[in-house]
Subunit: 341 residues, 2 copies
């Protein structure tokens, strides 16, 4: 398996990007190789800091970089030799099986759409996160690719998310739900109500609407929502968690006794942080484009990058793309059938 990794992606590129690729290369199986995409000189200098002898690492030069502040679509079109575009081209030509980048999410999204295109039949790719819960990660999409969605997109998100939960997380007949403001079938906004009907009629293991209180129990393996609500939800969960942890920290530091208590309880706090660590699972996946594309967090460190690369490997091994294509093919006739009614 050949994996392409953007060396110029993260906020501190190329340091964690290259270090993560080195860690991943040490984990790699026989026949696997990792291509670092970006400025050859800088990558080479970075690689020299590590022990890389005999590791299956190579460099694919790309002279340009798309920065976090760049306007995605514009940058992709005006910088054909950027590491993102070069990485996508490697996937398109078959030289790489997947591309992993910690760069500008919009840039990766635009690059994937522009260079790889959508899976035949898929209306909109969905940015898919593995939301960390005590019961394990939940597949949540869309978390930002499509601020405005049609019911048909949510239906397809369910299909793609289900394929992902099955092939990458190893779930059998994953449960699929819609994030809503109420559980009953009639609840939700107009989009949710319409998507409910489509998902209910689909062959997916659809369990209906779930409210946030059910969401956090992990009752659904896959949760679909529009990209606006999904993005706000993911960011809100992160912000509320941080706020709460900070509030507890402040109150613990308010007296010597609570401070001693906090010190003794520290291992408990550390374990909670570990359980919810978004870096443990890797990055977000762009489902619905013709290639395996993983977007790691801009703040990724070397371990987070390594995990994102592993996530790409599992997706390729699980034949995620074929599963989505086949799932879509299986559901297309069903749609045809509905039309005949």
């Amino acid at each position: 398996m050949k994996l392409a990794v953007d060396a110029m992606g993260s906020d501190c590129y190329p340091v964690p990007d290259v270090a993560g690729a080195v860690l991943a290369a040490r984990e790699a199986g026989r026949g696997d190789s990792i291509m670092l995409v970006g400025d050859e000189g800088r990558i080479r200098a970075e690689l020299e800091k590590h022990e890389t002898a005999d590791l299956p690492l190579s460099i694919v030069h790309a002279s340009e970089v798309i920065e976090m502040i760049d306007r995605p679509a514009q940058a992709i079109k005006s910088r054909p030799d950027s590491s993102i575009v070069v990485g996508m081209n490697l996937v398109k030509s078959g030289a790489a099986d997947a591309f992993v980048s910690a760069g500008n999410t919009g840039g990766v999204l635009a690059g994937a759409l522009f260079r790889l295109g959508r899976v035949r039949g898929i209306k909109r790719p969905g940015l898919t996160t593995l939301f960390p819960l005590p019961t394990g990660p939940v597949v949540l999409l869309d978390v930002g690719a499509n601020a405005d969605c049609k019911a048909e997109y949510l239906h397809q998100f369910g299909l793609m998310g289900s394929a992902y939960a099955e092939r990458v997380l190893g779930k059998t007949s994953p449960t699929v739900a819609i994030l809503s403001n109420g559980e009953e079938p009639g609840k939700g906004n107009a989009l949710v109500k319409e998507a409910y009907g489509l998902l209910h009629a689909s062959p997916l293991n659809f369990i209906g609407n779930i409210e946030p209180k059910e969401f956090v129990t992990g009752v659904a393996d896959v949760v679909v929502t529009d990209g606006f609500t999904g993005n706000v939800a993911v960011k809100l969960a992160e912000s509320i968690s941080k706020m709460l942890i900070n509030m507890i920290g402040d109150q613990i530091r308010a007296s010597p006794i609570t401070m001693l208590g906090g010190l003794l309880a520290k291992p408990a706090f550390r374990r909670v942080k570990e359980q919810l660590d978004p870096f443990k699972v890797g990055g977000v996946v762009l489902l619905g484009v013709r290639g395996v594309v993983i977007v790691a967090h801009g703040r990724s460190n070397d371990v987070a990058m390594k995990n994102a690369i592993r996530q790409a490997r599992v997706a390729v091994e699980g034949e995620l793309l074929v599963t989505i294509e086949q799932g879509l093919a299986a559901y297309e006739p069903a749609r045809g059938g509905n039309t005949q009614e």
Copy 2:
């Protein structure tokens, strides 16, 4: 001031409802009175458990009850002698200045629309919560009255929320923002983008879009959103907080040392809980109907009910309704001006 309180509202009615009214009556000023609305026999029996001599409490009999499981609009129409409808009638006739209920939120909303109607010019009332943050409560609306919104509604939510922050929370020139998936003016879904233009052109102290990470800092006094996103956001924040507290508790109980630490740190946890206690501020307010209507949480205890009644009193004292009407009048010409351009 005369306040009507639903005695048959909360999950455990009439116990906390009556007890809360008794607490509120003890706090009441000269000339204030509280009417308990509901089954006279049950209220009387409940009142006998308290020391109520000389308290300005009276009973207004209502023979029917709208339960939590009832379908709101249907129940309101078929039960004209329910405590919710009778309470609304008291406000409509001027016999009461406000109505407080811990009952079925949809029922209160339907009752208010059906019996009181909307403030002239207001397209949709907004269910408004005071979201607890370390920096103080933030006015957030809509949190559930309108799952599907037009930009115009969000605009009016800004106006009503601003009036509320000014008159009830005592803020001067409250800052107003839209909850969004990005800060820049061009970010958001189609609704947010359109509402941005309307709010930007309004005389409100509009500070633009905010993401959840800014929301939790309290940078905006008033945050507007559609009722679907708002409802999901409030429920998600609650669920994530509970989940995190439970996770920390579980990990603390995992070893004797962390357990000792947790015991010593307990006062810190208690203070955080107090800071975020939704019962401290009272209930949600239905802004945009012709009357002051507060919906307390179904799980309210006596103190929560007392706080919701106090919230109603402050809203009446602050002439909230007149402020909204005047604010709307002031902004109507501005709209006319825009149309002429």
